[in-house]
Each structure stands twice: as C-alpha cells, then as structure tokens.
Symmetry: C2
Subunit: 327 residues, 2 copies
C-alpha cells in the first residue's frame, strides 16, 4: 500500500480568489490555469499501514505545520472513504523548486498527494475524483491534476461533488507557449491566500462586481486557448490579473502585493506590445509580486530583454506540462 507520484504547479490565467466553503475549498468562481512542465515538481510518497497510529507528513524533510496536516488529512480521508480503508498514512513530499522561486508549492503538493494516496490505496480514480481530492488540500491543486490547460468549474453543489477541474487542451496543444517567471522579491508574503481571500470577500465593495465579470472572461480565455490566439488571450489575462489586484487593494485593510518592480514589468510589457504593433507578451500576478509572463518561444529573447533589469532577481522559463502522474 505504497505509491509515489509527481505533480507540477499551475499558473492561473483566470484567478481563484474567494471561497464559498472554506473547509471544502469551494470557490466563488471558475478559474483557468496552465500547468507548468519540468523543473518545478512536487514528488510525494504515500504509504498506508495498519501499523501507523496517525497520519504523518514530512515536507522537504520538515514536519508539516498544523494547517498542512489538516488539509492533507482532508485529502487522505476523502480517498480512504472511497477505498473503504481506515489505515493511517505516512507521507513524504519533496519539492524540486529552487527556494524563493515565487511559485507556490501548494498546487503541486496536494495534487501529488492525491495521486500518490489514490494509487497506494489501489484506487483507479478518474480525473474528476482526483481533482476533487486534491482540491480538498488546496483549491488550486484541483487544476494541477490536469495537464496543459485546466478549467476548474466552481460547481454549485454544497458537497463539492461538481467542483473539479477539466482539461481545456493538453500539454501538446500549444508547444510554442512559454511562461517566464520573473522573481521580484524573495520576501515572505505579506498575507497568505486563505486570509487574503477571506478579507476581500468580506470587505471589498467591488468584489461582487468582479465576480459578475468572470463567466465572460472564462469563456473568452477558454476560446483563446483553443485557438492558440495570443491576441485575444494575453490582453484578457492581463486585465484579469489587474482586476484581481484591484479588489485586493479595495479590501480592508488593503492588500497590496505588487511592488515597484512588478509595476515596471507591467509597463515594460505594455510598451513591448505597443512597440511590436502586436501582442507578444502578457503578464499575470498571483498573490505576490512575482510576474508570470506568457509569450511564445520566438519572442522569448525579446521579452526577457524587456523585463530584465532593476529589481528582477531571476528569470525562469517554463512550458505547458503534464498533470499529476504515478512514478
């Protein structure tokens, strides 16, 4: 009853910000993401045994925090129920990320956990079940189950059974696409996502209006991905990121993740597109100041040149990658 799995982080193109159920991680809106290939992975081994008195979780060699234990327990328990098994588990997870790379490990971590635990339990879950299991650990992990481009449907059921990610297109659909991550700060987050989302939902007068704009954005971005259409995808992705950071700023007290280097990159991307006379780059920012810039391979050099400079600590280039899988 032991298995090992890997999963990669994903970058949201339509953002997940706001929960309708904090325990089940049910979101207030659909989101869309691209799963990253290669360098960034969470590799997780899960073993169930009647010898274990309780679940244990080691992350990069360190015992997990209480919060991580609680979230992992939700994933493990969902799968134990599916398998009708009551053994405790030993979980050992390793991230291949360089530290301070500005990419959160929660999406890949809980996706790898869900995949490894399923296999260890002898389950053959479909992507829907795996996505739901991963979602219970961290909302964004529901999307890292899926390779290429994922659409996490918010769903409407109270039990979350219709809240899972589906594939828009796989990792081979758009091989020229690149995601350039520009690290602009190695400092810890000013506020975590869970607390930040709660604050925005409870205090921003603009947040409900933002929610009402999401369905059209989701459909537009889905179509742009299917058509590999940079001209419609990238402006929509940038505007969506700006909308997210606008409602963060409108929260009380305000949440401001973007720093002067983020601002400089935003301006540089707009200038680059203006100077090119076409849309060759588009930024998106999660709950942090680090930029993820979408472009295509042929523009990579130009984009890197435009955004490099003061305040950019490092650049990492990724392409669309596979979903979670058993090793």
């Amino acid at each position: 009853m032991k298995a090992r799995a890997t999963a990669s982080p994903n970058i949201a193109l339509v953002k997940y910000w706001g929960k309708r159920d904090s325990q089940l991680k049910l979101p207030l809106n659909d989101s869309i993401s691209v799963t990253l290939a290669g360098d960034f992975q969470s590799r997780t081994t899960v073993e169930f045994s009647e010898d274990y008195a309780q679940d244990s979780l080691l992350l990069d060699g360190v015992e997990a925090s209480e919060k991580e234990m609680q979230n992992s327990f939700l994933v493990l328990d969902y799968l134990r129920k599916l398998a009708a098994v009551d053994f405790r588990a030993s979980v050992v997870s390793q991230n291949t990320f360089p530290k301070g790379v500005g990419i959160a490990s929660s999406s890949s971590g809980y996706a790898a956990l869900a995949a490894a635990a399923s296999a260890a339990l002898g389950l053959k879950p479909d992507a829907r079940q795996l996505s739901i299991a991963a979602r219970l650990g961290s909302g964004s992990a529901s999307r890292s189950i899926i390779g290429g481009f994922a659409h996490w449907k918010a769903g409407s059921m109270d039990d979350g059974s219709d809240s899972f990610a589906v594939q828009i297109a796989d990792e081979n659909h758009w091989p020229e696409l690149r995601i350039v991550t520009a690290i602009t700060s190695a400092e810890p987050k000013i506020i975590g996502s869970t607390e930040g989302m709660k604050r925005t939902v409870e205090t921003s007068a603009l947040f409900r209006q933002r929610l009402s704009t999401i369905p059209a954005k989701v459909e537009g971005i889905r179509q742009a991905i299917l058509g590999k259409n940079m001209h419609s995808l990238l402006p929509a992705v940038m505007a969506e990121s700006n909308s997210l950071h606008a409602v963060m700023l409108d929260s009380w007290p305000p949440i401001i993740y973007l720093n002067d280097t983020s601002k400089r990159i935003i301006a540089a991307v707009h200038e680059l597109n203006d100077a090119s006379g076409e849309i060759i780059a588009g930024y998106t920012f999660d709950a942090g100041p680090n930029a993820h810039i979408l472009t295509e391979q042929k523009y990579l050099h130009e984009v890197e040149k435009a955004i490099k400079g003061e305040g950019v600590k490092s650049l990492h280039v990724s392409r669309p990658g596979e979903g979670s899988r058993i090793l």
Copy 2:
C-alpha cells in the same frame, strides 16, 4: 477693471474621478474636500481691457499651454456673459508652492482666476456662481472657492447649473486637524487626470460599482466632519482612496500611481493605528504617489515619526484654510 485674488489647493476626501461632460467638467459623482491653509496659494491678477485683442495667461512667468488657455477661456467667458462684457483679459498667476510639492495647482489656480476675474468685472457673484466658474477651469477648483470643508454636488442638469460646491463646515470648525503631505516622488505624473479619468470610465468593469458606493460614503464623511469624528472619518477616507486606486488599476491599460514608498506609508499608518488602539491617522492619495495624511495636532509628532524614512523626500503640514478671496 483689474483685481487680484488668492485661493488654496484642496485635498479630496471623496474623490472626483470620472466626468459626465468633459467640456463643462461635470462629474459622475459628488466629492468632498478640505481646503488647505497658508503656504500653498495661487495668486492671480486679472485685468480686462478693450485694448486686448485676445486673452493672455502667464503662469509662474511662463505662457500657459493651449489646454490651460482653453480652460481659462471657459472661466473667463462664463463670467463675461454674467457681466455682459466682451473685453479680453490679461491673466498673471503665481503659485507660492515649492516645486515638486506634490500638490496640484489646478484647483487653486482656477479658483483664484474665477475670483479675480469676477471682481475685475465688477460682479458680486455668490459662492455658487464662483464655484461653477472655477469648475469650468478644472473640476476640483469648484471646491477651492469654499473654505474649510467643501461638498461638490455632482448635480444632474445638462448645463451644469446645479454642479457646484457648498460648505460643510468652515476653516475654524476643526482647528486641531492637520494634513501631512509626504512627497514620495518628484517625477512627473505617468498619466494626467483628464486622460486617466477617461480611461477608467471607458474601460474599468469595476468603476460603475465604485460609483454606486459613493452616496453612502459622502454622507458618512460629511457627518464625520460635522462631528469632528476621527474614528469614523479616517477609515472612510482611507477606504475611499483605496477604492479609487483599485479602479485605476482595473483600467486598461492599468493606471498605477502608488509606489513602494506609498505602500510603506499605507502599512505604517495601519500599524500606527493598530498600535495606538485608536484611529489617529488616515491616508489619502490623489492621482499620484504622494500621501496626504489626516491627523490632529496632538498626534503630529507620532505620525511624522511613523511615516518618515526611506523614500519620503519631504513632509509638509497644513491645516484647514480659507476659500478664495480678493486681495
């Protein structure tokens, strides 16, 4: 037919951002401001004469731009019609502001122009007419006619005859109030207010929602001013500033005025209030990165200590001041 007048800039507590008529400077929402005393003044001399072939305008010794000429012409012409006079005017205006002080001179400038031109024409306009005349030069100037605390009512008439500022309370109402201006950048604006407003109105999906929140804010802030209630005034003023900058960020392309020093000041003010266990300071930012911090005299030292530091180029302290007047 010659007169001289002075007026001071005002700091908006509920912001003016978005026009329903760009020629007449009719706003989409009510706004509230405090007029500053003393150091910052525009002093303007206007002379009408049949000898002048055209209006001329000298600002701090430099010939005015075409845009400034157009706006001044609207003010002068409104008053010429009231006086049934058709002479051209020579206008000479001087600002007492230190350069790069981060306070726009348009509010004081057009208010002083309206006051001086009225007097030169022998008019005895009431505050309503003066406010309308000043508004035609620059929307915010409608408030600098008024001493102390001004409420610019958006009005609903197409001709702007009901769009003017009225006094909430005069400059002696709250003598302990201080406005600390922290200069965080001497660089020119990334985008002017006229262009920025237009962009927000035309592109921000959140802007209409912001507008719907204004009436309640206006009433709350008006009551807080009347009651000299720091605890209700300052959080409302801060949230209003954040709401403005949120819709700016939500514009396309995004407008981002706040810089890392603005962010640091925002955090410092929240920390100061938290540490004090009461609300002793509140920030507001116009279309720029410079902070205006409201506090009372007894907290001034504490507030200055909290916001001084990296990135703050200078601090200026003001108190509520008089409206425009003839010299």
